[in-house]
């Protein structure tokens, strides 16, 4: 029977003590503990989110890098192509120029040859005239009786002149 009759004093002290421990633990233990656990959980989830974001950003950066790399590659190829074109153009130009120069030199040479030929011909003509005059002089001077001999002599002179 005593088991089932709660002592008034115990009820009083229990109420007081329980309220006290409830207040003390609430103020100095549960609030900071729950707050800290919450903060930590938020921190963890935030960190996870940030890590996720960072990963996505990294992927984006990677993509960008690849794009830039591809563009660079394209540009390089273009540059190489341009350079090759330019090279071949320069080479062909150079060849053409060389050809032209050669042509011009050839023409000049030909002209010079021509001029020299003309000069030579003129000199030959002069020489022939002089020779003719010499021959005629000699013919006239010898006054040969033999007609035949005269003819032969002229022919010889001519032959000699031609050989010159």
């Amino acid at each position: 029977m005593e088991l089932l009759t709660p002592g008034l004093g115990l009820v009083f002290w229990m109420t007081l003590s329980f309220l006290l421990v409830l207040w003390l633990l609430k103020k100095f233990a549960w609030k900071p503990i729950l707050e800290s656990i919450k903060q930590r959980e938020e921190y963890v989830s935030q960190s996870l989110e940030q890590a996720n974001q960072a990963r996505q950003e990294l992927e984006k950066v990677k993509e960008d890098a690849e794009k830039i790399l591809a563009q660079a590659r394209r540009e390089r190829e273009e540059m190489i192509r341009d350079a090759q074109q330019m090279r071949s153009r320069i080479i062909s130009q150079a060849e053409e120029d060389a050809k032209k120069a050669k042509q011009r030199k050839l023409e000049e040479a030909l002209q010079e040859i021509d001029a020299a030929k003309q000069n030579a011909l003129k000199e030959i003509k002069d020489t022939v005239a002089e020779l003719s005059i010499d021959i005629a002089e000699k013919v006239l001077l010898s006054q040969l009786d033999d007609k035949e001999k005269q003819k032969k002599y002229i022919n010889d002179l001519l032959k000699n002149a031609n050989l010159n």
């Binding site: 004093g9 002290w13 729950l34």
Partner: protein, 353 residues
């Protein structure tokens, strides 16, 4: 192994019935098993540790009483009342209904209970448990504040899963995400207070061993707090559900308010059951374990030292076994009280759906 245990139980049963037959003889020799067991689980004015050659080894506790007859407060140590002594007209009653309590006599010789606010064994045990709780949780709390983002360590690591369990599986699950936070301090305090007192009750000697949670006053106060919190947090929906539930046909509500009365009774029955469940479970555990101790005395008186030594082996075995069982019960009962409180809070704050 099982066969052995059963045969041991059988022997135990035979002997105990035999000793019950000799009850009269035992009483003459000054040992009453029933009184012994009940005394062990009851509240007391001092904390008895042992008796040695007629001397009581006990922790004396302050007696605080207010005599209605003399209209005066009295403060004195309980040592003044040892061995049925009387002090300033106060003594400990031996007859029901005031048995075991401090009483005084009026002019007609009737036993009168003064207003008794003594610091009894259970009050001291409550204070010890409170000091232990504070000693555990205040340093933990400090570490939480200082190293918020660091992983828990030591005692903190031991307590955090329990705190998270109460928060996530008890409070959040029963009360709901929006309102659970408000009830967390009460739920955590109730859980750890009950568990700590259940746990301390398992150890047989001072400063543990008091039957705190197996006392109706203690469980009653906590159940009353649950009741008060439930009632003051009751939403419109909660009260409407009690007095005019839409799920119940009208003829059960009017003209005879049958269901409302049942629902209203339930409001009071719930905390009452909460009070009795914890009380009965812990008291039961204490009584069974003390009974095994009493068995040794019974055997000593009935059959002598050899029988007592023999039975003490069995008794100790069972007491150890039961202590482990009670450790489980200590946790389960703390959990059940907390969980049901949370469910009642959840019912109170539930919104219209």
């Amino acid at each position: 192994m099982r066969v052995k245990a059963f045969s041991l139980l059988a022997i135990l049963l035979v002997f105990s019935t035999f000793t019950f037959a000799q009850q009269g003889k035992r009483e003459k020799q000054g040992f009453n098993a029933g009184d012994f067991v009940i005394d062990e689980v009851l509240d007391a004015y001092w904390w008895h540790i042992a008796s040695y050659k007629g001397h009581e080894i006990a922790v004396p506790l302050p007696v605080i009483v207010h005599s209605k007859l003399r209209n005066k407060w009295f403060f004195f140590w309980s040592t003044k009342l040892y061995h049925d002594k009387s002090y300033k007209g106060f003594f400990i009653s031996h007859v029901s209904p005031t048995k075991g309590k401090i009483v005084e006599r009026d002019k007609n010789g009737n036993l009168i209970r003064p207003l008794d606010l003594s610091i009894t064994k259970d009050v001291l045990a409550i204070w010890i448990s409170i000091i232990i709780l504070l000693a555990i949780f205040l340093p933990i709390s400090k570490r939480y504040k200082k190293k918020t983002l660091e992983p828990p360590k030591g005692f903190q690591a031991l307590m955090e899963p329990i705190i998270l369990f109460i928060r996530d599986d008890v409070a959040r699950a029963s009360i709901g995400e929006e309102k659970y936070e408000k009830f967390m301090p009460f739920l955590l305090t109730v859980f750890f207070f009950i568990f700590m007192n259940n746990f301390l009750g398992l150890f047989p000697f001072f400063p543990a061993g008091a039957n705190v949670t197996g006392n109706l006053a203690v469980t009653g106060v906590m159940a009353f707090f649950t009741f008060v919190i439930t009632t003051i947090n009751g939403s419109k929906h909660y009260w409407r559900h009690i007095f005019w539930s839409p799920d119940i046909p009208w003829w059960l509500k009017a003209p005879v308010p049958l269901m409302p009365l049942i629902e209203l009774a339930e409001v009071f029955i719930r905390p009452t059951v909460l009070m009795i469940r914890l009380f009965a479970n812990i008291l039961g555990g204490h009584i069974v374990r003390v009974t095994f101790v009493a068995l040794i005395f019974i055997f000593f008186i009935g059959f002598g030292l050899a029988a007592a030594l023999g039975i003490s082996v069995i008794s100790v075995f069972f007491i150890v076994f039961l202590t482990f069982l009670e450790l489980l019960v200590a946790f389960i009962q703390a959990y059940v009280f907390t969980f049901l409180s949370a469910i009642y809070f959840g019912m109170a704050v539930e919104k219209e759906h």
